[in-house]
Amino acid sequence: MRAGAKSRGTAQTAQAGGELKADVPAAVWGLLVAGTGLAAGGEVSGFRRLRLFELRGRLPARSRLEALLHASTQFYNPHKERCVVRTAAREPAPVPVGTPVVIVTERGGERCAAAERWWLHETGDDIEVREGVAWVVELKAGADAAAVEDLVTVRDRRHGLLCNPRSQQARIATSKVPLPWIGPPAGA
């Protein structure tokens, strides 16, 4: 806990997923490269890419939470991105149920110090902010679901794209987006 930071209240978790309103270049190029260069590329029909943030600590009510996220490009740029906020696992994620989603995080680099400093400055509350990139993997009809793993983890030039396991880690959700999803379980 930093000096001067408030510590009252119980820990809460919120998840914010930001996505460009326009086509996401990384997703467009990822699909192109997967289709032409990867063994499992023929199984995928599209990628979506979201920047996913998880905030843990004493969080304000939802309207204030959304306003704070809207106020800083540490989280998203409302001029060009949309953002969906969840505060409970039962709330809908911006992904169709049953569509595979992969969260890719940097090993040992999930925490966003700049976002945490901004939050502390704005609210006086010392919270944890973690980030990852969520890839929505849209498979073609009848595609082998096992193709997702082959698209994700880089092994060689023909296998894997989204996660280099030497510096990153990936977790795949096949039914619905977990909350929390990034970092250790809440309360750990």
């Binding site: 060689d156 794209l161 030497r166």
Partner: protein, 271 residues
């Protein structure tokens, strides 16, 4: 005898091709920018290859990840397997690592991860010292181990990482030909001499044969002695001052040219 030909491969977003061509020409090589839309089979016509710095495909997905899957890189792997030299600088190094050409074998064994720096994150640029290590690397074997070469580092994702102990094993095997060092010549252990937290202080990694080298700092930006940063000390700085004091015309060769000289020597050997 005609000069050996080097293809300077430019993917969209690469921005260091001109100075790379200039450095190659200064050591007597013929250099040509080879853009990504040319047929891959045309790479066969060249004797060596250079992947310059920049931001190929805007660093989308991950730095170097998309270019690593390009058909040009598949062809490059074939030419490298024939023993032709390949030099990847900064983004070019990221491509070689993501393609499994360094440390070699085709499997992706390393990553160039985000810089790890105290109290800061993201892109970082600074002149650093790299120290030559014992190695079979074609680009550095003409240099005495312990030689210091100052050159600029400029990257956000330049931290060599691998599975536990992998970088140390590569160092023992002579596949880490350059490490970050202090001005006094000892291996850098702390920021900013170690600008990114790279394991084993690795600034460059090569393959087992020594003909493919991935280096994060920019030798092509240190090709002019007059351009040496004023913060740099040691023999290169003394030489620059001596020349400036005596208004010595002519030789302006900087420390970064040494790697290109190594390439030229290798190509002369195999000609």
């Amino acid at each position: 005898m005609s000069a050996a030909r080097v293809a300077v491969i430019q993917f969209p977003g690469v921005n260091c091709e001109a100075e790379s061509v200039r450095a190659l020409k200064r050591v007597g090589l013929e250099a040509q920018v080879f853009r990504w839309k040319r047929p891959a089979f045309e790479l066969r016509e060249f004797d060596a290859y250079l992947l310059p710095g920049g931001f190929s495909y805007q660093d989308r997905v991950r730095a170097g990840a998309l270019a690593a899957k390009d058909p040009l890189v598949e062809r490059l792997a074939e030419e490298a397997a024939r023993g032709k030299p390949v030099l990847g600088i900064c983004n070019g190094a990221q491509v070689l690592v993501e393609a499994g050409l360094v440390p070699g074998g085709g499997e992706v064994e390393l990553a160039l991860a985000r810089n790890r720096m105290p109290d800061r994150a993201g892109y970082y640029t600074r002149w650093v010292y790299v120290r030559i290590e014992p190695s079979r690397c074609a680009f550095t074997r003409h240099l005495e181990p312990g030689t210091l070469l100052p050159m600029p580092a400029a990257h956000g994702e330049g931290r060599f990482v691998g599975d536990a102990g992998r970088l140390a094993a590569l160092l023992d095997d002579g596949r880490v030909p350059m490490r970050y060092a202090t001005a006094a010549g000892s291996v850098a252990t702390e920021f900013p001499a170690l600008p990114n937290g790279s394991e084993a202080a690795a600034a460059a990694v090569c393959n087992a044969e020594g003909n493919v080298l991935a280096i994060m700092p920019h030798p092509e930006r240190a090709q002019d002695l007059a351009g040496l940063c004023r913060t740099i000390s040691g023999p290169w700085a003394l030489e620059r001052e001596r020349r400036a004091a005596h208004h010595t015309p002519g030789d302006n060769d900087g420390p970064g040219l040494e790697l290109f000289r190594g390439l030229a020597a290798r190509l002369e050997e195999v000609a």
